[in-house]
């Protein structure tokens, strides 16, 4: 099974202001990707930028995989212009996945901004079981909300500016939920992807409530396969590679 291959762009379309959805046809020999895993994708045919970019598995389709990305700098700006039929070099699926919650547990999923890309297919696995805390800067940054509402048990939206849902972060909304919730919290398991500060806050909340929690970390990557040691985060065992030991870590392992 090959984790290095050429994939053809089947579709590359805007979903919102600066967000795009890329659908790639992948070879059948590619190992099955799991929610939480990511791909290193060629974002440029030249040498500036040089390195591949890391993107989470957004969703698996019939013949391919989908990536939801935010146009952020040079690489993603070039990627956005790439047309159907273009062949891109891809490495993946890479890294760890979100571990399944115990059968009777309610997955509490926290997504901050583009972090939704990583948790989307995880929520999709659990038909009407997961509670999603989805935070974004403004109403316009909320992506795929309708789809999400279709398969989550509940979606609690928050925005920094209060333009949709409650005003505040997804961590605020999780904190509020847990302090007003009657059922035993042992029946929860937390999964989060988003900016570092959000993950840190979620980790503290989870720790305070003694709820098992997993976070998907982000660091600048060069190789994506554990060779360059560029992507490390500090853990209780020393530095760990986000691309290899992660991106999904147990929150209490991370030194925030």
């Amino acid at each position: 099974m090959s984790r290095y291959f050429k994939a053809e762009i089947q579709e590359n379309r805007p979903v919102h202001t600066v967000h795009n959805l890329l659908t790639l046809n992948v070879p059948v020999s590619m190992p099955e990707p799991r929610p939480g895993q990511f791909f290193m994708i060629e974002a440029n045919k030249g040498t500036d930028p040089l390195l591949k970019r890391a993107f989470s598995l957004f969703r698996k389709t019939g013949q391919g995989v989908q990536i939801l990305y935010r146009v952020r700098g040079k690489g993603t700006a070039i990627l956005k212009e790439m047309k159907k039929g273009t062949l891109l070099e891809v490495l993946g699926p890479l890294g760890t996945c979100y571990p399944l919650p115990p059968a009777d547990a309610v997955p509490l999923v926290i997504a901050g901004g583009i972090g939704i890309a990583s948790v989307f297919s995880f929520v999709e696995q659990f038909s009407r079981r997961a509670i999603v805390f989805y935070g974004a800067r403004t109403k316009d940054d909320l992506l795929m909300l309708d789809e999400l509402q279709g398969f989550a048990k509940e979606v609690r939206v928050s925005t920094d500016d209060g333009s949709a849902g409650t005003k505040g972060t997804a961590a605020d909304s999780l904190r509020h939920f847990l302090s007003h919730h009657a059922s035993p919290i042992t029946h929860h398991c937390i999964y989060a992807c988003g900016p570092h500060l959000l993950l840190k806050a979620v980790s503290e909340i989870a720790g305070a409530h003694k709820i098992p929690s997993y976070v998907s970390m982000e660091e600048h990557m060069a190789c994506g396969i554990g060779a360059c040691l560029g992507c490390v985060v500090k853990t209780r065992d020393g530095y760990a590679r986000v691309c290899k030991e992660g991106p999904v870590f147990e929150a209490r392992e991370i030194v925030w």
């Binding site: 990557m221 360059c228 040691l229």
Partner: protein
């Protein structure tokens, strides 16, 4: 066509072909084993090791630059003992030469590391990285002060019978002088070049982007500098030169051979394409075939002929 001879000699070490991996860009070999057959490589050069494990620098450790990248990994490694226990048995299963890159904080550490590595079955050569700070000499870099270079290379030379490659720092005024110094102190070969010190500043935060502030520049951006340095070093010494710095394709490797390199090492290209070493080897073979070059050694230093 008559058969092509790709084999080259680095001191007493015979490589089946001139393509090696550059230290720090190929892990301990196993990270890439799923993407290519390591036995096709002339040599695998592993991530730099120290006597004791080293933690390295805080993140962010890498930042991209135009046609290159800066890294400030800080020489994180698992230490020599774990390498011997956990990595060498795997590498021994391949038909390739294993070269261990190593370093120390003091001359004693260099010597102890070289001694420890010399008795291990499956290690065919040593590459000493002298681009690290020398605590004893008040943080000068081992490879930038000719006296310190003489001393450390000389001491390691006495400590090992393995082929000894000295990896030169490009962050000096006169690389050929440093090359001569290393040769005189007993190096069997020279690696040229290590990364060039650089910096990137974030104009939004007005702070350097790397936590360590500065890092080592690698990738296509440094190739012309590296080719020039190989060219100069080739003129200055008799020992073989291993050329590296921005090699992405077969043609880049050929350029280094023409400048005087006996072998080449592939670094940053591995991150872009995990199969880069094999593509480069194929590219070298295609060039030889096109030009009817039967022995790769005929290319060495050809650019020096006027």
């Amino acid at each position: 066509m008559v058969s092509m001879d790709l084999s080259v000699r680095i001191g007493s070490l015979e490589l089946k072909n001139p393509v090696m991996t550059a230290s720090g860009t190929f892990g301990y070999g196993e990270e890439y084993a799923e993407f290519l057959d390591l036995s096709r490589l002339g040599a695998v050069v592993v991530k730099g090791l120290s006597l004791l494990p080293k933690e390295g620098n805080p993140p962010p450790r890498i930042v991209e630059t135009a046609s290159g990248m800066l890294n400030a990994i800080g020489l994180q490694n698992i230490g020599i003992q774990r390498f011997i226990d956990e990595k060498i048995p795997f590498l021994r299963t391949y038909d390739t030469k294993v070269i261990v890159n190593f370093f120390g904080d003091s001359i004693e550490e260099y010597v102890a590391a070289a001694e420890r590595l010399s008795s291990v079955e499956g290690i065919h050569g040593l590459e000493m990285n002298i681009s690290c700070p020398n605590k004893q000499a008040g943080w000068c870099i081992f490879g930038t002060d000719p006296r310190v270079t003489t001393e450390v290379v000389g001491a390691v030379r006495k400590a090992t019978k393995l082929p000894l490659i000295v990896k030169l720092s490009p962050n000096v005024t006169d690389i050929s002088l440093m090359a001569k110094v290393a040769e005189d102190a007993g190096a069997d070969a020279l690696s040229v070049i290590n990364t060039l010190t650089g910096m990137v500043i974030d104009i939004k935060t007005r702070r350097p982007k790397l936590a360590n502030r500065t890092g080592g520049l690698s990738g296509p951006a440094i190739k012309p500098v590296a080719v020039r340095m190989v060219y100069e070093v080739f003129k200055a010494v008799k020992v073989p030169v291993i050329g590296m710095g921005g090699i992405m394709h077969g043609d880049d490797a050929i350029e280094f051979l023409l400048a005087g390199a006996t072998a080449v090492a592939v670094g940053t290209a591995n991150f872009v394409n995990p199969n880069a070493t094999i593509d480069i080897l194929d590219g070298i073979m295609a060039y030889m075939k096109d030009g009817k070059v039967e022995d790769i050694n005929l290319l060495r230093g050809a650019a020096h002929a006027i």
